[in-house]
């Protein structure tokens, strides 16, 4: 069996899963971006104060750019990489999801230990980014084995 056919089958499941995760990520980060610029408090379970505290904390922006916008760019990049796919798309999705996961770990650390408040939207985004990294890794591995 030709490697390209075999690899193509292996790519399908991670690709579909990655697309689904990226779309959900785009929706979450777009919502948080909108609430940031509209000066609104994100809808949050419980009292909602956690989301408000996190979103208005001094870590919610980076060089004046809201972190939610960075998330929007990252998830948009993931959608783009899934659309391109092929080798370059797969490696791009791996790069984006790895950066996203590392940064999400840092942001979650801030929420728990520095800000002292949890935002469910941010945690959901972190989980999605980790899942995206798993999918991207599953897509990258066949490329390495095929060589």
């Amino acid at each position: 069996m030709a490697p390209s056919v075999r690899s193509g089958r292996r790519y399908t499941a991670p690709r579909v899963a990655l697309l689904a995760l990226a779309v959900v990520g785009v929706l979450i980060s777009a919502y948080l971006t909108w609430t940031h610029f509209a000066g609104l408090t994100p809808v949050c379970t419980g009292s909602g104060e956690g989301c408000q505290t996190v979103q208005s904390s001094r870590y919610a922006s980076l060089l004046g750019i809201p972190v939610a916008v960075l998330g929007l760019v990252a998830y948009g990049g993931l959608v783009f990489s899934v659309a391109v796919w092929a080798e370059i798309g797969i490696f791009l999705s791996f790069l984006i999801s790895l950066v996203g996961t590392l940064f999400s770990v840092y942001l979650t650390y801030l929420e728990v230990f520095i800000i002292g408040a949890l935002c469910q939207w941010c945690l959901a985004s972190a989980v999605i980014m980790v899942a995206a990294l798993v999918c991207a890794t599953l897509a990258v591995l066949p490329l390495l084995r095929a060589r």
Partner: protein
């Protein structure tokens, strides 16, 4: 594999990508810390350098426009305003004497608000209300989580440029500042202030009230209107 691929060695490329990812993530963390850690005494000293301070008033006493700034130290949106817009307001209008700012310190969100407000009033006795106020917002914690401890407040006092911490401690111990807080509360009621931050600009052009601040342009147009220009 794709024969048209320009990737000669995916393993090498993968290693490169991991390295790039770590570098980019590290850069993001550093930038986040630089932006987030703006609450040091040196930064605050620079922020207020050259601006007259008297009690809870900031800026030239003869400034044509006065901004009455209603804030609660635990209010997250007040913290966001203070970190993101207030430095620009200082540079654009206060430093050049066009606007002076009067703190209308409220304490309606809980006991930590009262404790923080009293500490800031104690700093005002030495005309250091404003840098202390900025440090409180830079280091704001979750509402009523009990983060406003004596150690926390003392740490900020030590970081406040020009503040004699011993005198500040004495002022805190000897004065509850209840009268000041009640006066602001009464004024807020008469002005119809029921949320924070609320900004009321007064000048030759009249009064402009902003109780839903989302954009710095609102401040620009409010100053222009209050100034009568």
């Amino acid at each position: 594999m794709d024969k048209n691929s320009t990737l000669r060695s995916p393993r090498t490329l993968l290693a490169l990508l991991v390295a790039v990812a770590i570098i980019v993530a590290t850069l993001l963390v550093v930038l986040s810390q630089l932006g987030g850690g703006g609450g040091s005494g040196g930064d605050v000293g620079e922020m207020y350098a050259g601006i007259p301070q008297k009690g809870t008033t900031l800026g030239d006493g003869d400034a044509p426009v006065t901004l009455y700034l209603y804030e609660d130290f635990q209010c997250p949106f007040c913290g966001q305003f203070d970190r993101e817009m207030f430095p620009d307001l200082l540079d654009d209008y206060v430093r050049d004497g066009e606007v002076k700012v009067v703190a209308e310190t409220m304490a309606f969100l809980g006991p930590d608000s009262v404790t923080a407000a009293r500490a800031a009033f104690a700093a005002a006795e030495q005309d250091r209300y404003w840098p202390y106020h900025s440090l409180l917002f830079e280091n704001q914690g979750e509402e009523n989580s009990g983060y406003v401890t004596d150690d926390f407040l003392r740490g900020l006092a030590e970081d406040t440029p020009g503040l004699d911490v011993k005198k500040w401690e004495d002022a805190r111990a000897g004065e509850s500042f209840t009268r000041e807080l009640e006066a602001v509360q009464a004024k807020a009621q008469s002005e119809g202030v029921n949320s924070t931050p609320t900004l009321i600009f007064e000048g030759p052009g009249g009064q402009v009230k902003i109780d839903r601040l989302t954009d710095y342009d609102q401040i620009t147009s409010a100053v222009d209107k209050a100034d009568g220009s």
